[in-house]
Amino acid sequence: MSISGQPTIVVPYTAGPAAPTSTMVSLITGTYTVTVRAFAVLDPQGGNAGNFSANSQALIVNVP
């Protein structure tokens, strides 16, 4: 998960009854752009070096 101005956060995927995947982040007042991308074990070359999805649609969050 990427929040503008913040380090990238790795959020383990949550399946089943506990879904959806979520996390909590503390932020100072401001407006942030949040995007999420997913990680797969495979890569397009046939290896297991991993593969990221494209970013999700951006979410604009205002922290008052």
Partner: protein
């Protein structure tokens, strides 16, 4: 004054495709990887270290711990240990840390080895679609028959991960399947006691979908001929569950009714992928509804773009081809590429209606049996004399020059009158012409020809056959078609199942009957042939067409759904379309500009959706 800290909870309502992520939950996010090694060639986050023999086990552990690393295993080789490196460290940094240690003799990545997942099938070397090394397909019928290395669907790497698609039922809605073929028999759908022949038949309305044409068996082999069995060919899937649904007759023709029944049967009986290598040039609301029904049943439908070499998006819709010009989201339409990933000359395209490309020329696959074609030019050795038996005159042999898109072509023709196409044919005529053919030992025979007809109402052109030979318009003859009509000087294709006439003497003939009133131009027959099929379980053949490209994608869809059982049709279609490789020949001619890539689709992952945030 301090700025207050607030918390936001970000929840991503991941769509089903993201369950891929679940498989990697235990794997840390990928560390930055340097280009020293090809991605995937080693285990991320691990190195193998060889300490000097004088180093004790405890001192090895200390040396590793000082670097912030952890021992994973002693490799039971003198001095060698497996080490987990710091999560923030690149591979090069980790290697450098040990290379600077005088107690270390050697350090290397923990390389990944893979099973050499190349099947043992005897004719695998001819399957350029799966492994294009530039080979020449010596028996290929499409030119060029040599290729460009790497122009293939990248199945080799995908096979390292999955070869067994049998958990996904694939319906081949076609001319049936020779379910006894040696490379297909073990990969057919189990229809239980109700469908013991692995499918059903909407042509003959029974439960025996035996292929009496050959098209469906070829398609089925591309999807799922048994792989790695040292026999014949392999499909995209080495193991499969192929449901045979016969909707095309021995001449390769079907109807809305048979095809729609086939789709509904497939959906009702558990198919998750449908191969529809058929085309027609008109909007068919019933077919559209059937594909929508498949969508509601979460079924992917893969269809052929068509073989007319047209832009099916042409203004006005004159070239629209169905089902590809339908818009259901579960439909994937496939164009054909040659061995160099150029567009096959026959392939239809459409920037809004054709989605992806796949290999479709010189494709070797399973055959229903041995095919042969009897052609007839109506004369012997260019002597210009009709060599068919005539009765009542009227018929003659002549050469005609036809106008074709490729330019004028001179062909041998059977005509009535001899001056055709200038006419007129005779009044009060009963002109018969026929010839006897030996069809013994065949299981299927199909009569084909092109005809230009201009026969007035009240007169008729008749086509008959007679088992046992002789005049087919005498007693015992059977009419295939008859009547008046006008094809507007165009030659129109005709095709008929001639199987009831299979024996050592089968006569086929044409008759022009006219009344006493005025007449018109008459009739011309060209490209006369009888295609025969002798069923067996050991044959293979090469074919060209978008029909052959389509099952490449169907097999991939099955592979994706087998690898990701939670995939919906939307996930599957997305992975097929979005993960292909860009091919210049498809740019602007398909919705994606891409050719399918099995490994990339297997690794593809949709972006998360449904992102929400709550400020507390």
């Amino acid at each position: 004054m301090k700025t207050p800290l607030r918390s936001i909870v970000v929840a991503a309502l991941f769509v089903a495709v993201l369950t891929l992520l679940y498989q990697v939950a235990a794997v840390p996010a990928a560390s930055p990887i340097r280009s020293t090694f090809a991605p995937g060639s080693y285990v991320p986050g691990e190195v193998l270290v060889k300490f000097k023999p004088t180093h004790s086990a405890s001192s090895r552990a200390s040396a590793v711990a000082i670097l912030g690393h952890a021992l994973v295993a002693d490799l039971k080789l003198p001095g060698w240990v497996q080490v987990k490196i710091d999560a923030d460290q690149t591979m090069d940094q980790a290697l450098a840390a040990y290379q600077g240690n005088p107690e270390v003799e050697f350090v290397q990545p923990n390389y990944v080895y893979r099973a050499a997942a190349l099947p043992t099938d005897a004719q695998f070397g001819q399957l350029w679609a799966f492994r294009n090394n530039g080979q020449t397909i010596t028996t290929g019928t499409y030119s060029p028959n040599f290729g460009t290395p790497g122009a293939d669907i990248n199945t080799e790497k995908a096979w390292d991960h999955l070869t067994d698609c049998s958990s996904v039922v694939v319906a081949v809605i076609d001319s049936g399947v020779n379910y006894n073929q040696q490379d297909l028999a073990g990969n057919m759908w189990d229809g239980g006691q109700i469908y013991p022949n692995h499918g059903t038949d909407f042509v003959s309305n029974d439960n025996d979908p035996m292929d009496l044409h050959g098209h469906g068996t070829h398609v089925a082999g591309i999807v799922g001929a048994a792989g790695n069995n040292a026999t014949g060919t392999t499909g995209v899937c080495w193991r499969a569950s192929i449901m045979a649904v016969r909707v095309l007759d021995a001449a390769g023709s079907g109807t809305t009714a048979t095809i729609v029944q086939g789709i509904n049967f497939a959906v009702t009986n558990g198919a998750k992928v449908i191969n529809l290598s058929v085309e027609a040039g008109f909007f068919d609301p019933v077919l559209s509804q059937a594909i929508a029904t498949a969508q509601n049943g979460d079924v992917v439908v893969v269809a052929a773009a068509g073989n007319s070499g047209l832009d099916t998006d042409a203004i006005g819709g004159a070239n629209a081809t169905y089902p590809c010009n339908l818009t259901q989201p579960n439909l994937v339409c496939v164009a054909a590429l040659d061995q160099n990933y150029a567009l096959a000359t026959f392939s239809n395209t459409g920037a809004t209606s054709v989605d992806v490309g796949a290999p479709g020329t010189n494709i070797l696959s399973t055959a229903a049996g041995t095919e042969a074609t009897i052609t007839d030019t109506f004369h012997n050795n260019n002597n210009g004399v009709l060599n068919w038996t005539t009765s009542g005159g009227g018929w003659a042999y002549r050469k005609l020059t036809l106008s074709t898109p490729a330019g004028p072509v001179t062909v041998d023709a059977l005509v009535n009158p001899g001056t055709f196409p200038t006419g007129p044919y005779a009044d009060s005529a009963n002109n018969r012409v026929y010839k006897t053919f030996d069809l013994s030992g065949k299981n299927v025979a199909t009569l084909s020809f092109f005809a230009s007809v201009d026969v007035l109402p009240g007169d008729s052109l008749n086509v008959n056959y007679r088992s046992g030979g002789g005049d087919p318009f005498a007693g015992g003859g059977v009419q295939l078609i008859g009547g008046s009509g006008n094809t507007g000087l165009s030659f129109v294709p005709f095709s008929f199942d001639l199987s009831p006439c299979i024996n050592a003497s089968c006569s086929v003939g044409f008759q022009l009957l006219s009344d006493a009133s005025v007449t018109d131009l008459g009739a011309g027959i060209v490209f006369f042939s009888i295609k025969t099929l002798q069923l067996n379980n050991t044959s293979y053949m090469i074919a060209n067409g978008t029909s052959m490209a389509t099952p490449m994608v169907t097999g991939l869809a099955a592979m994706l759904r087998a690898y990701n059982p939670q995939f919906t049709y939307a996930d599957t279609v997305s992975a097929i379309k979005n993960a292909g490789r860009s091919v210049p020949a498809l740019a602007g001619k398909t919705t994606t500009g891409r050719a399918v890539d099995a490994m990339s689709s297997l690794a593809y992952i949709n972006p998360p959706a449904g992102l929400t945030a709550t400020v507390q």
